[in-house]
């Protein structure tokens, strides 16, 4: 962590700024001083090229395949007599891999094994359903990135936002669509304020938002757990389980394609959020200030921009986007009631979505769709092939690691290095 009391990491000696601008075109230590520790991340997130992205996905899938092969019983059995009957090995390997990815495809895009189109296309709607909250939360993390803030607190924000959205939906007694709207807004406001704590602490005391948001994940988790196990707060009557009542119909996100499909309005809300965030970042003065503070807080402050206020605003908006994802979950995907697992890993997935999407709204849309497909397909892979769904986590995190290190990917594929800027 960089020093919380001194947001400007200055490893230089006590001297004041250098009187001589040396001729070396790039002085990394100088850059770091000028732009803060996140500068390189932000740079590598916001620039970079598509080839590296595609190759990263390819590499990650490759590693995932090796894992699947190495742990497959038949493949290992046939490997023991590889030289005697290599054919067996390759057949087994091919079956394991094609089985896995076939199931992934059938689970996420189009099920080729059924005849009627409606059933066959259902996986795609599942992908979109999973993508909705990923996109919304990814926007929350990405927007904070652009303002130079590292929002690792997606999990806590999801939990707090989901708990409030659920609480309002269960208790407010309003007609549709009013109840739905109020519930979603409640979740967004609650999550925004929760994230805002990190913003305020950073602005007021310089506390590092990475640490604060990580810690608030746990505080939020235990708070929600407490509410869920306390009668009169969120716990359903006549139970001792940490679980709330189901969400009433008036508070649910309506299904988009009828009851045969799970896809609900939440996905559309996520798309709206993409447009709004795009406008905010690229066309609004507030977004301009977010980016200015994110790229160089010193220059922003010197130019009269209130850096602390900008941090707070960025965290409020980022949190409310994560809150939208929480509403998506509680009011749309899992309507059986609030529980402590409502974030379903989305809080952390959002980080990978934002990184893969390079913190641009359109990139996050694409990354959210891809990881939504992984999720949908992962479950079908587990069901039909017995491959634990955790493989999706492995592939997902590997993609992000490779994306973050373009020189590594270039080295592996022997691509020419991009010209230094």
């Amino acid at each position: 962590m960089s020093n919380p009391d001194n947001p400007q990491p200055a490893p230089e000696a006590q001297g004041s700024p250098p009187p001589e601008v040396e001729e070396a075109p790039h002085r990394p230590d100088e850059d770091d001083r000028a732009n803060g520790p996140w500068h390189h991340v932000l740079r590598s997130i916001t620039t970079g090229n598509a080839a590296v992205g595609v190759l990263s996905v390819f590499l990650a899938v490759l590693v995932g395949s090796v894992l699947i092969l190495a742990t497959n019983e038949e493949v290992r059995a046939s490997a023991q007599y590889l030289f005697a009957r290599p054919g067996d090995f390759f057949t087994a390997a091919w079956e394991a891999i094609s089985g896995a990815y076939g199931a992934l495809f059938r689970g996420s895009i189009y099920n080729t094994r059924v005849d009627d189109f409606q059933t066959a296309i259902r996986p795609l709607t599942e992908t979109l359903k999973f993508a909705g909250p990923l996109i919304a939360a990814g926007l929350g993390v990405g927007l904070a990135f652009r303002a130079g803030l590292f929002n690792i607190g997606g999990r806590g924000q999801m939990l707090i936002g989901g708990a409030f959205a659920g609480w309002v939906a269960i208790n407010a007694n309003l007609p549709f669509p009013l109840l739905l709207i109020v519930s979603i807004l409640a979740g967004m406001v609650a999550a925004g304020l929760w994230a805002g704590i990190a913003g305020v602490l950073k602005a007021r005391t310089g506390a590092h938002e990475v640490i604060v948001t990580i810690m608030l994940n746990y505080v939020g988790y235990y708070l929600v757990l407490y509410a869920l196990s306390t009668q009169g707060l969120l716990q359903a009557p006549n139970t001792i389980n940490p679980q709330s009542q189901p969400i009433p119909d008036e508070g649910q996100l309506p299904k988009l394609l009828g009851d045969r499909f799970n896809l609900h309005l939440g996905f559309v809300l996520a798309l709206v959020a993409v447009v709004v965030v795009w406008w905010l970042l690229n066309r609004s003065s507030l977004g301009y200030r977010f980016r200015a503070v994110g790229e160089n807080p010193h220059a922003a402050r010197t130019a009269g921009i209130n850096v602390g206020r900008t941090y707070v605003l960025a965290m409020l908006i980022a949190g409310s986007l994560v809150g939208l994802a929480a509403g998506n979950q509680v009011l749309g995907t899992v309507t059986s009631g609030v529980n402590s697992g409502l974030d379903a890993g989305i809080g952390f997935d959002a980080i990978t979505v934002a990184l893969l999407g390079r913190s641009s709204p359109l990139g996050i849309l694409g990354a959210g769709l891809l990881f939504g497909a992984f999720k949908a397909g992962g479950f079908s892979m587990q069901a039909s092939q017995g491959i634990p769904v955790d493989i999706v986590l492995v592939i997902q995190s590997l993609i992000v690691l490779f994306i973050a290190a373009p020189p590594l990917v270039r080295a592996i594929f022997r691509l020419p290095a991009k010209e230094a800027s």
Binding site: E12, A13, V21, E23, R43, A292, R301, T302, A303, G304
Partner: protein, 504 residues
Amino acid sequence: MQLALRNVTKRFGSLVANDRISLTVDSGEIHCLLGENGAGKSTLMNVLYGLYQADEGEIVLDGEVQHFAGPGDAMAAGIGMVHQHFMLIPVFTVAENVMLGHEETGFAGSLDLEAARAKVREISARFGFHVDPDAVVEDLPVGVQQRVEIIKALSRDAKVLVFDEPTAVLTPQETDELMQIMRQLRESGTAIVFITHKLREVREVADRITVIRLGKVVGEAEPTASNAELAALMVGRPVELTVRKDTPKLGDEALVVSGLTVTDKDGLVHLNDLSFSIRAGEVLAVAGVQGNGQTELTEALVGLQDHVHGSIRLDGRELVGRSVRQVLEAGVGFIPEDRQVDGLVGAFSIAENLMLDRSFSAPFVRGGSLQLRERDEFARQKLAEYDVRAPGITTPVERLSGGNQQKVVVARELSRDLRLLVAAQPTRGVDVGSIEFIHQQIVATRDAGVPVLVVSTELDEVVALADRIMVLYRGRIVGIVPADTPREVLGLMMTGERPAGAVA
């Protein structure tokens, strides 16, 4: 020991920082390497010290070609360096800093601090330094830190000592002492390379002078050469050290500062009870050695300092206690001393940087929405007007040269309706052509009736721009004197002495 560089060439991408540079230094000799900012001096020394690898050419010590893979090799060969930015660990003690890298150890690698202390004391005694081996470096004054750097090099038995711009942070008095130390080292047989761009220092201690410009050796000179000759060699043409300007048309007192005191969060007083005023159409230039409160003064004027007492009135309106935005909106233009840190957002385009301090209201923002057409039109216009050499308005400013970056800052600040201009080190690290242009702009602003405060650590710049000169020393005003005050007097004032006749 004799050190020789032969045809050393170092490139960064397409840029040739050092182009076939050769020079030799012998024991008991001070060899000055003179050149403008950015001429390639520091790069050359980093090659010598093993921090960079030369693309061509060789380093020869006593006839043997050396191959330095890193500073460790260079040190082992007897080369020591006193870095421009001290290479000291701030939280370590003097002894720890001196021993770092060649520690003497006892049981299981445990540090023998006593040996290091003894070494510090021994070298201190030899040169008359008073350095406490157990003092923590960050608590020491800059001048003493530099001595720690020298002790560090000597403790490794350096035979060749490189001083890289050592006087930038020193008072004239400390500079004199450093010169004395260098002579002393020369007497004891050390070969010294002295890198600087300050002519006076060169002529004072140098035995030989090599002048570098744009990465090439452009000539050698004797210490007897005149300032004008050396300066001409250094910048490649006879330089005009003065700025053409008419006598000022003074208006009313526009900026009135009284009782200004600035402290930091640790309670250190950086500015102590400053009172002065600037009239409309006047340039008040602030002189002083770096670190005597200039940074705090300019930042306090703009509202960037947190603990400010006293009063700053601009045209009768109090500025103390206002936010930076309110100060800027009151008509204060600010050219910060470090454009890359405080003046520009490197990754932003020229157009985006030109609206940096106008992101709240018209003309570039309406209803919370950016007005891209107005902004880009404005940017194109300023690009032409200020002669910014760039492919276009969408070029990120980090791709521009220092001079062009500074022009972007100047263009942004001067294109607002100003009632006060505060310019801190307006031409630091800027090429000669841009310096002249920026100076003209500052003078034009003055002539338009705006009060101007210029801070510079280069006495030449102060003298060239000033209508009056204010000298700061340790956060206090030593005196405010006319622009034609002799340099010797100014130099003396920069050490805190107040000559007769100076008005406080």
